[in-house]
Subunit: 370 residues, 2 copies
């Protein structure tokens, strides 16, 4: 039996008892007519969450990294130019994915902790009129920064290329409007602001993106992530074509988590994330702690905090985990050892979590000064 | 709330209440030190199940099809020759995977419902001494046939190529000895004879297979399934490198299911599958029903039965589902409409299941004669 933690790291977030119980329902056959209707319900709930009418809106049967790979392998072919904004770990991963597709990434780097600069993106798109796609991360989990997805998607439209948006940490936590913003392809995860267990990656592709998938010269390099096959399996209403075996129980959990989200209301969820962030921010300020990101660009759901001079970074995290069963995150890559990442995602975004985190953090820091 | 079914199709099989409850434990962080030890336990349990000492034995965070893709994208590079035995749907899928790697599949076809003929495989390997791998399905879920994995793996060794074995439906249900049989790469699923929910694919790669992965000219085309990265994440003991977010709760379920399996004993599980098969076979004979596969090559866990003349195939399945909440499977591909597939897998392999299936089937057939 593993210990019960309070999850305030970069994900997974706390999963509610209702969602856990939904997950523990008896498994049903993935081709059962009742399950097929259930799949339609999941897709409908996902459309409500992405704020899209896209027919191709479904959960990939694997975590968010597979959602990223799904977008890249379906939309890019060998030799295709793709402009990729890098301002953290997940932009770097996009470049890696593009390379493995044989595509030609034009990587634009931005200082970690700052958002993607639309002007620089526009220059790159202007210089490379044969660009097929612009890929960027809406909410960088590694730094806690929000980029302007609406402005960036508009640039992709202006320069006649597809937008690929990483919304792993944004979906459900901050404003995100797939159709209104003209986003072409987007993927997310379930274990962040949706507060379902990890293991699925909701994706959505609009007609322009699917047009590109359908007119590919070669099949996507992944069979498992081939959207032409996946849409046959998940396709609403029509007779399903067997593809793989969907992770039935994990889908039960996602269905329950999305139902909870929409029972609260999507915009109310965004507001809750904003208000608990404000409470956390004020408390952290009182502790003399500083954010990595300027206030304007901060993600309410992922708070990257500088470790004060003379404080043992890992010691504080261990203290929180061992004394309070409270998980917060470490830094990744160049930020390892220098920051903590405090998540306020989904079910982990409550006043109680904020209070607990602030008092435990104060104690942990006090106990880990050199 | 979905109806509670009795799962006697080609998978998923019934998941025990204990496994469902394990899955509903609170989610823990995938980098939590306690979870890292838990991952080691899962890998140890998987080694006991595959009967291997392979260091690289781990569950891929996606269903069995992704396990297949993992084997192909890691072991094959563009231009590599791979001999693939096709005697059902899953051999065909292997060819599809090989093509997407840019590999050159040498596909050998065998009549559906018959096993792979080692003599024909040997001829092909002899004719193609530059073959990199031999891929075949141990237990063809589409037809219910068992091929001689030991003999086929020995041929791969004899002709100095790697064996890639699909054990999705065999693991836990019939004899399978990865080390003793000299299998190089193998993948399975969780929702068949292991009776965990779908969503994971246990894989194992021996030193020869990993040598090939390490000396590749190019990175595998999949980032998500790249074994060099996955072993950094799952690597026993050492500090883990973050790769993706493991499906924590699904792993709880797998751990519990494997614990149940080894509490019974692996060989006892094989024996249970054999004895309940014998009971089912005798009962089906009494109903005048015929198997697709000759007795010698039958899988106890997957019974492919010919639909009698004048009986409405789909009508019988609907009757079973609607009147008894009992799922059996339909035929795939050329066998659609011609056969039923009755699963006796894992927790669905009990005397009670056999009795229920026989009586329901007798009634269903009686009600669906034209």
């Amino acid at each position: 039996m593993l210990p019960q933690r309070i999850l305030m790291g970069p994900g997974p977030s706390d999963v509610s008892p209702e969602v856990l119980q939904a997950m523990a329902q008896p498994c049903i056959g993935h081709l059962d007519p009742e399950f097929v209707s259930f799949m339609d319900e999941v897709n409908t709930l996902l459309r409500k969450t992405f704020l899209t009418e896209n027919a191709v809106t479904l959960p990939i049967s694997a975590p968010g990294s597979a959602g990223m790979e799904c977008a890249f392998v379906n939309l890019l072919e060998a030799g295709d130019k793709v402009v990729i904004a890098i301002n953290g770990v997940f932009g770097m991963r996009m470049v890696e994915n593009a390379k493995r597709c044989g595509a030609v990434p034009i990587a634009l780097e931005f200082e970690w902790g700052t958002p993607v600069d639309p002007d620089k993106i526009e220059s790159a798109l202007k210089e490379n009129p044969d660009t097929v796609a612009l890929a960027f991360v809406h909410a960088e989990t590694s730094t806690g920064v929000r980029s302007d997805a609406q402005a960036l998607a508009a640039l992709a439209n202006k320069y006649n290329c597809l937008s690929i948006v990483d919304a792993v940490t944004s979906l459900g936590g901050i404003e995100l409007r797939v159709d209104d913003w003209g986003i072409d392809a987007i993927y997310s995860g379930t274990q962040k602001c949706l507060s379902a267990p990890p293991g699925l990656s909701p994706v959505s592709f609009n007609a322009a993106a699917m047009h590109r998938v359908k007119k590919r010269k070669h099949d996507p390099q992944s069979w498992f992530l081939d959207l032409n096959l996946l849409t046959g399996y998940w396709g609403a209403g029509a007779k399903r074509a067997y593809h793989h075996t969907a992770p039935v129980n994990t889908l039960y959990a996602l269905h329950a988590a999305l139902t909870q989200l929409h029972s609260e209301g999507l915009e109310n969820s965004w507001a809750r994330h904003a208000s608990n962030y404000a409470k956390l921010r004020d408390g952290l300020q009182q502790l003399g702690l500083e954010y990595v990101v300027d206030e304007e660009y901060r993600l309410p759901e992922l708070n990257a905090i500088k470790v004060p001079e003379g404080v043992n970074e890992a010691g504080v995290r261990s203290h929180l985990l061992e004394q309070h069963n409270l998980e917060i995150g470490a830094g990744l890559g160049p930020m390892a050892g220098k920051i903590w990442r405090i998540g306020l995602m989904g079910s982990s975004c409550t006043e109680r979590h904020v209070d607990l985190c602030l008092s435990a953090l104060a104690e942990g820091i006090e106990n880990n000064k050199s």
